[in-house]
């Protein structure tokens, strides 16, 4: 199979908008694998150019995996939501693994995850893990706000792109984002200070 994606992912997205409950579950592994593959390709230096932002990775995954003639903005929003969730998982898993390793455990590592975290801005695994925990708590209180943080921080979407994805106004995104940051900072305070 040369390119297993376009029909697959497009039809999964369609299933999703038609309310099939298993769509998200089917989408996760495919998107996950593609994000990893793309990032690996970048890392192998097969693509010339500039520093890669997460949003570029996610957009490219979207362009490559989804038949563009056949999607609606809802499909796109679903896709970006899933991709952001996946990016979070990739990064946090690796941060956790590295922390475990520091404590003397043995952790198998994937070369891609390694590459991603090494260059991550700030470079603190502890911060990432604390953020992940705080986000999980936030999800219990306000799932929409937690999604918004995923899109902004883990998929690197701008305020406008986030607004487009969530189907709300930029002003709303800005307001929610400001509050989410304050809330997360408060929630993470002890860990954040310790880094």
């Amino acid at each position: 199979m040369d390119n297993p994606f376009p029909q697959d992912v497009t039809s999964i997205l369609k299933d999703w908008s038609e309310g099939r409950p298993d769509a998200a579950e089917r989408l996760l592994p495919v998107v996950y694998a593609e994000l990893r593959r793309l990032a690996r390709e970048y890392m192998a230096g097969e693509r010339p150019g500039h520093t890669l932002q997460p949003t570029a990775l996610v957009h490219e995954a979207f362009l490559r995996m989804v038949d563009q003639r056949n999607v609606t903005w809802q499909n796109r929003a679903h896709f970006f939501g899933v991709a952001a969730q996946m990016m979070r998982r990739i990064l946090v898993d690796h941060a956790r693994a590295r922390l475990t390793e520091k404590r003397g455990g043995q952790v198998p590592r994937a070369p891609l995850d390694e590459a991603l975290t090494i260059s991550r801005d700030g470079g603190s695994d502890r911060l990432l893990v604390a953020l992940d925990d705080a986000l999980t708590t936030l999800k219990g209180v306000d799932p929409e706000q937690s999604r918004l943080v995923e899109l902004r921080y883990f998929a690197g979407l701008t305020l406008e792109e986030t607004a487009g994805t969530l189907g709300v106004s930029t002003a709303t995104v800005k307001r929610e984002w400001t509050m989410a940051k304050a809330w997360l900072r408060h929630e993470m305070e002890p860990q954040a200070e310790a880094r």
Binding site: Y42, M43, E46, T51, T72, R96, R152, E176, K181
Partner: protein, 814 residues
């Protein structure tokens, strides 16, 4: 915190932030009617609020690699000797075939590009066969190819020790006729390739080497095409091919990213000829901005004879090869070569210099607007026509003429929407043009609507046009511009027109049906935007009208199908709203109606699939309502129909997947209703399908996951039925598959969880058999699930499973 408290907190936080920093504390202190814990939370939120870069930089960035990949030592049977070149398309090495009796020197080009490796490899396979056929004394032969351990494709070619043709001409001090004769050999090779349907696409002196014996050899035939992402059929967006080209030799159409033909090679050869004769390039491309390129190609380069003493004939030949418009160049490389031969023989050449008239035409062409702009120009003419219509209508005398023009305007609006729009619909980057077209079309439609007071035919056309505009703006099941608000406005206009028409002619069922169709679309759009109540109201209206029409026309099956679909849509909205009994009633009604249609049209597989889907929905709703036996009956009908379709259309993968899903659902129903043997049968059948679907591509992880999943379900059902040996085999089969998937990708969540389930299943059977391996097996299941918990600590279901298994372990005899 409770949701209402949280929302209150949000509001207060916004209000506090709107105040100057100094006043916020007193704002919090002065709040009345809010409880103390809320105030505390607000206080800490405000304290944590800072305008810094916290979380403002995305979580990661990937910097460009600092170091190029280390040079390979060996590729396949070839020993790398040294790097001999590096460029946009990759790196070239000199190598020898290590296992040959004699040491044949070859050049190996390891290609790289903006394309994904998979795409590159796919193209490479097809192109290689074509390229391998090129066998010409002046073309470096393609010998072999493969992929490096990193996965990059490489090609192995004859190694040519030589110098670029222009350099060779200068250093040997070749005469003009000598240079032309050398160049004609090159033409012969290119012509040969063209006859074999291969376009070079990157002809330049660096790819035309001349050996010490004076034999020219062309390199890299067709390689540019391998790397060009503009080749049709590619999903990746346009990456301009000129990134791969040397712009100084690229044709104007290549620079614009337009299709490349043999005439592009003619152009590049013209540039090479220019340089070979004049000793310098006709121009240097310093900017690839479209405007700069247009200017560059519009400027006629200095004729070669102004640089060196050369015949005017050669000026004309070079100029003819380098014409900006492909169709005005030599029609083939052969013609170019023949004209050069004529010059050598002293016969008049065919090429003619550019005339003043030609230059003038080119000036006009340069200012020609793009398609979208031209379309808008047509539109502004139409606007004039509308105005004329309005004025003309006043004068009774001119009525007839006016009506004719009126009809023209109508035709034009339709052409805009249906023809021109269709033409630009699939052009990349045409969205602004599409939006402009829709906007303009709406303006004309609106002004036509003003004119149309008594014209019923026009009104019907108008309604259809508004409907079409709405579709383009935002109908979710078609490609659209994502403008839901505009879409709804257009639909409502269409609906208003149709309702008026209907009011004037209330017995006309066609009109009634048309109006109803608009309401159905409005419902679809509302449903997509999450306005479930609004959608429900529309769908109920639609359903009522269809019901009435159907009783008037009992034989109209299309109408009845629409009625069934209406019930399904209502059922979906009711499910969303949490009204399970209502949803079920509608889904059942839909199934009844669709069943009657399928019975009336037993050969219509589309009707049968409608019915199968309806029954599957009914089954799912019944199972959720806790009625597994009725659910099983509905699923049985769904399965039967899916099988009927497959018997007719064995290749129908959609039906096959429908079948697999319904069988799995059926298996779960039977477990629910305490019928393990029945569940075993259903899962076995589902497994057969899953295995068939996974078989064509052994690397298809999704297919293999499905198989592992179904085997696990089957194992549980077999264990429940007391068939321990069979269950053990099923679980072990699932372990084998999931183990591989998990090893391939430890982060594959589904593989991880199926593996845990399968190991647990094996363990549970071993416990029953008092097998000594029971303990380590169950311990592994716990370990696997704990790893999952580490990833998602909040997953209580996994936590419960871990605890259950631990309890089981504790109960095991030591």
């Amino acid at each position: 915190m409770r949701p209402d408290g949280w929302n209150r907190l949000k509001t207060l936080f916004d209000e506090a932030l709107a105040r100057p920093e100094g006043e916020r504390a007193s704002f919090v202190g002065g709040l009345e009617g809010d409880d103390a814990s809320l105030k505390t939370a607000l206080g800490s939120l405000l304290a944590a609020h800072r305008d810094d870069d916290f979380l403002e930089e995305p979580a990661f960035r990937i910097p460009p690699p600092d170091e190029p990949l280390p040079a390979p030592v060996r590729l396949g049977p070839y020993q790398i000797v040294r790097e001999i070149g590096r460029g946009g398309m990759g790196t070239v090495y000199l190598a020898v075939r290590a296992d040959a009796e004699y040491e044949k020197q070859v050049a190996i080009k390891v290609v790289s590009s903006g394309l994904g490796l998979e795409e590159l490899r796919r193209r490479f396979r097809t192109e290689r066969q074509i390229l391998a056929r090129l066998d010409h004394p002046n073309i470096a032969k393609l010998l072999d190819g493969g992929t490096t351990p990193e996965g990059a494709p490489y090609v192995v070619m004859d190694y040519v020790e030589g110098r670029p043709i222009t350099e060779f001409g200068e250093s040997r001090g070749l005469t003009v006729p000598g240079r032309i004769r050398l160049f004609r050999l090159v033409c012969g090779a290119v012509q040969y390739a063209h006859q074999n349907l291969v376009v070079h696409r990157d002809l330049k002196p660096g790819n035309i080497l001349v050996t010490g014996d004076g034999v020219p050899k062309l390199l890299d035939f067709g390689i540019a095409r391998l790397l060009d992402s503009d080749v049709p059929g590619d999903l990746t967006q346009t990456i301009a091919s000129l990134r791969l080209m040397t712009p100084d030799y690229a044709s104007p159409e290549q620079m614009r990213g337009e299709p490349v033909t043999i005439l592009s090679d003619v152009y590049s050869l013209g540039v090479v000829l220019y340089e070979l004769l004049a000793g310098r390039r006709p121009y240097r491309v310093t900017s690839t901005a479209p405007r700069d390129l247009e200017r560059l190609f519009d400027t006629e380069p200095a004729a070669p004879s102004t640089v060196r003493p050369l015949s005017k004939d050669l000026d004309a030949i070079v100029s003819m090869a380098m014409r900006r418009e492909p169709e005005r160049r030599y029609a083939s490389v052969e013609q170019l070569s023949e004209d050069l031969d004529r010059h050598l023989r002293g016969v008049p050449v065919r090429a003619r210099p550019n005339t003043a008239g030609y230059r003038l035409r080119r000036f006009a062409a340069r200012h020609r607007a793009a398609l979208a702009v031209a379309a808008l120009l047509v539109l502004s003419l139409a606007a004039g026509a509308v105005a004329t219509v309005r004025e003309a209508r006043i004068a009774d005398v001119q009525r007839q003429r006016a009506e004719k023009r009126f009809a023209d305007v109508r035709k034009l609006s339709n052409a805009l929407l249906f023809d021109i729009y269709g033409a630009v619909e699939n052009l990349p980057g045409a969205i602004p043009a599409r939006q402009a077209l829709v906007k303009k079309a709406l303006e004309y439609l609106d002004s036509l609507a003003q004119e149309s007071q008594s014209d019923i035919g026009l009104k019907r056309d108008l309604a259809a046009a508004y409907l079409k505009v709405g579709d383009i703006q935002g109908y979710p099941f078609l490609a659209n511009l994502g403008d839901t608000t505009g879409c709804l406005a257009s639909y409502h206009t269409a609906l208003a027109i149709r309702e008026k028409l209907l009011a004037a002619d209330p017995k006309n069922t066609d009109l009634e049906r048309d109006a109803n169709g608009v309401r159905d679309r409005i419902g679809d759009v509302l449903s997509q935007t999450g306005d479930s109540a609004g959608a429900l109201a529309q769908f109920r209206n639609v359903q009522a009208v269809r019901q009435r029409l159907a009783s008037l026309h009992p034989d109209d099956l299309k109408l009845r199908r629409d009625l069934g679909v209406s019930h399904l849509k209502i059922g979906d909205q009711l499910t969303r709203a949490g009204d399970r009994p209502g949803a079920l009633a509608n889904a059942k009604r839909a199934a009844e109606i669709l069943a009657a249609i399928a019975a009336a049209k037993p050969d219509d597989m589309r009707a049968r699939r409608d019915l199968s889907v309806a029954h599957s929905k009914v089954g799912e709703m019944l199972r959720q309502n806790g009625d597994p036996s009725a659910a099983a009956a509905a699923l049985g009908l769904s399965i039967g129909d899916a099988k009927t379709i497959l018997a007719r259309e064995p290749q129908n993968a959609v039906a096959r997947r429908d079948l697999e899903i319904s069988l799995n659902k059926l298996g779960m129903c039977r477990i629910d209703s305490g019928d393990p043997p029945g569940a075993v049968a259903a899962f076995q059948e589902a497994l057969g399908i899953a295995e068939t679907l996974a078989a064509p591509d052994a690397k298809d992880a999704q297919g293999r996951i499905d198989v592992a999943y179904t085997k696990n379900r089957l194992g549980s059902a077999e264990a429940a039925a007391g068939r321990d040996a069979a269950a053990l085999e099923s679980f072990r089969g699932a372990v084998a598959i999931a183990e591989v998937l998990h090893a391939e990708d430890p982060n594959h969540i589904l593989a991880h969880s199926e593996l845990a389930t399968a190991v647990e299943g094996v363990g549970s059977i071993l416990v029953k058999r008092r097998d000594r391996e029971a303990r380590p097996t169950l311990e592994r299941a716990v370990a696997l699930r704990e790893e999952m918990l580490q990833r998602d600590p909040k997953d209580d279901e996994i936590r419960r499973e871990v605890e259950a298994t631990r309890a089981r372990l504790a109960a095991l005899p030591r």
